[in-house]
């Protein structure tokens, strides 16, 4: 089986639904398959990256913690849509992990270069 490029896209805020959690878990599950993996945050998904989250307050698991493990699992391509940041007046300095900020053209190239795009 040839090596594929999988791109996970997440566009939901961290705790309002289970979708954010599901996408991180899917990416972590994908890591063991040794494919090329991109993880892209867009829209409200960028809120998942905000540092100093503490979901114990709402008896839940802090999603920032799971995102920090992405790199440990070998997922180095942690990407963020620049326009989603601008709209929310956020910058990579607000985040708990290092990210690559992509502009419009780079986003389109990312999609084009992906074999599978998983947007749950």
């Amino acid at each position: 089986m040839k090596r594929k490029t999988l791109t996970f896209v997440t566009r939901y805020a961290p705790y309002g639904s289970n979708k954010a959690r599901l996408t991180v878990d899917a990416a972590l599950a994908a890591a063991v398959f040794e494919q090329k993996i991109n993880f892209l945050f867009i829209d409200d998904g960028v809120f998942q990256l905000v540092q100093n989250q503490n979901a114990e307050m709402i008896a839940s698991k802090t999603i920032g913690k799971a995102i920090e493990t992405l790199e440990l699992y070998g997922i180095e391509n942690v990407l963020v849509d620049g326009s989603s940041l601008e709209k929310r007046l956020l910058t990579p300095a607000d985040f708990s992990v290092p990210v690559k900020v992509l502009e419009a053209e780079q986003l389109q190239k990312l999609t084009e270069d992906s074999d599978v795009v998983i947007n749950l």
């Binding site: 805020a13 309002g16 503490n54 979901a55 307050m57 929310r88």
Partner: protein
């Protein structure tokens, strides 16, 4: 009769615009769950009359790491105050 409006979705949902259609003078607005992002920059609240008191649930702000970003016109409140607010207004209207 006055109302307390609770908003539980982020600005992407447009819930505040819908809510404002039914907001009258003296009504209050409480941001809960993902709604607390309405209380963070950029300022989404300029469309609201100063006559309407604004609140955000502290637990939800802390969970999301945005308590320190809360705009100054919004008061952080705990669950105890949340209950008091539902009593001090005549009714509660939820937006989710």
């Amino acid at each position: 009769m006055s109302a307390l409006h609770t908003i539980s979705g982020s600005p992407s949902t447009g819930l505040l615009d819908s809510c404002l259609m039914l907001v009258g003078p003296g009504d209050g607005i409480l941001f809960i769950q993902d709604g607390v992002y309405y209380g963070c920059p950029p300022n989404h609240l300029t469309v609201i009359s100063p006559d309407n008191a604004l609140f955000a649930l502290r637990e939800d702000l802390i969970a999301r790491g945005v308590l320190s970003k809360l705009l100054k016109q919004v008061s952080p409140v705990g669950y105890g105050r949340f209950v008091e607010l539902t009593v001090s207004y005549d009714k509660v209207i939820s937006w989710s």
